[in-house]
């Protein structure tokens, strides 16, 4: 008669696989809360720095109003086209979040950021104040409104 023994390594491997599944399941079910909205805000900045238009396409709502520090507002398509055409290239964005509010399925984030970028061939190294408004749609946050303004160095936090 054969006795089948389970080795400790097999037990560890099984536990590890199970934990990974639990972790993946947890990540897959995002909730419309402050934590996930802050993560979406951060992910949007990071995608912009990477020039990752595929990720931006998912994070930006079709009804996006993207209002630049010049006061000009443009839609999602125009914003993404400027990226794809290389008219806008971010080298770094260092954002902070100053205030956060949830109003039903809408998250309002106010913050500051230091931005290092090139726009239409002009180098920019500036501090901005920003307002991001995210809408919860189909299980994830999408940026539906953005407004920024250039701050004098003394006003930047």
């Amino acid at each position: 008669m054969k006795t089948r023994c389970t080795t400790p390594s097999v037990i560890l491997l099984t536990a590890s696989v199970l934990m990974s599944y639990v972790s993946l399941a947890k990540d897959a079910v995002a909730k419309p809360d402050e934590s996930s909205a802050r993560a979406a805000n951060q992910a949007r900045f990071e995608a912009a720095v990477r020039g990752d238009t595929a990720t931006l396409d998912k994070l930006l709502a079709n009804d996006l109003d993207y209002c630049h520090s010049s006061g000009e507002c443009e839609g999602k398509r125009a914003y993404l086209d400027a990226f794809k055409a290389g008219m806008m290239k971010y080298r770094s964005i260092e954002p902070t979040v100053d205030s956060f509010k949830l109003v039903g399925p809408v998250a309002i984030i106010l913050g500051h950021a230091h931005v290092n970028a090139t726009r239409n061939g002009t180098d920019l190294n500036m501090d901005i104040g920003y307002t991001s408004v995210f809408a919860w749609r189909e299980g994830h946050w999408q940026l539906t409104s953005w407004r920024s303004l250039t701050l004098p160095p003394a006003a930047a936090k």
């Binding site: 010049s70 507002c73 205030s99 039903g104 399925p105 809408v106 106010l110 408004v133 407004r147 303004l149």
Partner: protein
């Protein structure tokens, strides 16, 4: 029968105007709320402003400084900020479940600490639907660079 008819007519007369007056959570009322806020500010009507501004208001001016509701009302009450004229236009209103996001432009002339200035701004307003009416919960504006457009 006649009594019932009269009662029904009376009820219709009494409730009709009330129903019409009740604000609805729609684009038109959100647009009206934004414009009413400009009007109240222009008339230094602190009482009306108090009713239109949410307790959790973030009022961020084109300078980049953000004020709470109390700070903004104090600014108007004290006379440090006095609007002389405001010509706002609403470009777009987006409705969500309990909120609305509006964007637009305005030309505003105001006295700030005694100094008069006229500015052209692009603005964004987030309204929250609370207690059966729209309240301004976030305001941000950007000074339009005259060199840009």
């Amino acid at each position: 029968m006649k009594t019932r008819l009269a009662a029904a007519l009376l009820a219709a007369l009494l409730t009709g105007p009330l129903c019409a007056a009740a604000p609805q959570r729609d684009e038109a009322s959100a647009r009206a709320a934004v414009l009413a806020r400009f009007d109240a500010a222009l008339h230094n009507d602190v009482t009306a402003l108090d009713q239109m501004l949410a307790a959790d208001l973030d009022y961020c001016s084109f300078r980049g400084d953000c004020l709470t509701k109390a700070q903004y009302l104090d600014l108007v009450k004290s006379g440090k900020l006095k609007y002389l004229s405001a010509n706002p236009t609403v470009s777009k209103v987006k409705l969500f479940a309990d909120s609305a996001v509006a964007i637009g432009m305005a030309t505003v002339t105001a006295l700030r600490d005694g100094a008069e200035s006229t500015i052209h701004i692009s603005w964004s307003a987030v309204l929250a639907w609370r207690g059966g009416r729209w309240l301004l919960t976030t305001w941000t504006s950007t000074l339009i660079d005259p060199q840009v457009k």
